[in-house]
Symmetry: C2
Subunit: 200 residues, 2 copies
């Protein structure tokens, strides 16, 4: 199965622990099931392969985000959905990357700081609150939420699957994926799959 080669960059932003990677895990197979090519650039992959040696000052964070943006741009203009799952705390640099890539869908993964501290999946908030990690977003470093993101995922109310489905619907609305139709049997199919079924 394949569709139009127009792709976009799906740019997550949100606090550590808000749910960016968890939603990505749900989203990627949904995209692949639609015949899309997908690459994930999450914070850890990027810090290892593109940004070793960079720290967490504003300047280094901006450099890191610009590099992710550069790679997302190369992929997206060749028909690949690039998923960036870094924290990406600064608004200006996100908007710079948006202007560069153009086919850019910003997804704000929203959870309160209190919730993220309670979850603390990686144990990083504990260390940050104890002063063992400096420049930790939300604790000792700023986070600037987006003003007009294409999607907001409220991860305190939604399951990761629900959040991922919201993103898929928005990609359909924006023309990056063919629209799905819901049938009387309750099963979602893409238009092309439906047409194929009718042809049988």
């Amino acid at each position: 199965m394949s569709h139009s080669s127009r792709a976009c960059t799906i740019w997550f932003t949100g606090l550590s622990g808000a749910g960016k990677s968890t939603i990505t895990e749900q989203l990627v197979p949904m995209l692949q099931a639609r015949g899309s090519k997908v690459e994930i650039l999450d914070g850890d992959v990027v810090r290892t392969n593109l940004s070793k040696g960079l720290g967490f000052s504003k300047e280094d964070r901006d450099t890191n985000i610009r590099r992710i943006g550069f790679v997302c741009h190369l992929l997206t203009r060749n028909g690949v959905f690039a998923v960036s799952a870094a924290i990406s705390p600064y608004k200006n640099i996100r908007n710079e990357v948006r202007a560069q890539i153009k086919d850019f869908v910003e997804v704000y993964v929203k959870a309160s700081l209190e919730t993220c501290i309670q979850r603390d999946v990686k144990g990083l908030y504990k260390k940050a609150l104890a002063g063992e990690i400096k420049e930790f977003t939300g604790v000792s470093d700023p986070y600037e939420p987006p003003e007009n993101p294409e999607v907001v995922c409220y991860t305190e109310q939604e399951t990761p699957e629900e959040s991922a489905r919201k993103i898929i619907s928005r990609l359909e609305e924006l023309g990056y994926l063919p629209a799905a139709m819901r049938h009387s049997d309750g099963v979602q199919r893409t238009k092309s799959a439906t047409l194929a079924a009718q042809a049988v």
Copy 2:
């Protein structure tokens, strides 16, 4: 026109001034005319977008090459011909990148140091020989030629167009491009174009 989505990384290596960028300029439109997607990662683009702040020590050069390799890998596994046109002086790191990417065609762009010094397109050899640039490949820093490159371009004997055509032929042999056939009218066509013509 399009063909099988199997692509490869075309990895140039050679001294500054050997002709990597000049051959790339000839090669890229030839690939695009075959319906291939292509991205160029030359030394300057990469130093700006991926490796700002890195110097020219062996360690920094290796980091630079690993980053180019990482991006080439992402592109190539999604059906894009990635062209790396950095000097890439060290054999071990080239082989590391080859092992990672697998679909990897190494092109040794060969010209003697004397020729490169005579050409000195960017005026860099003059500065390097005067000691104004340190760690300059071929002058004050090593260059390790490849032992078994897929292609060697002898740029003292060949035109850039001849070199590019050699690379195209090798890509055909290796199955990354459909084989072209030369006809009695002297015009080269791809097999699929020929079959289409026969069908008319």
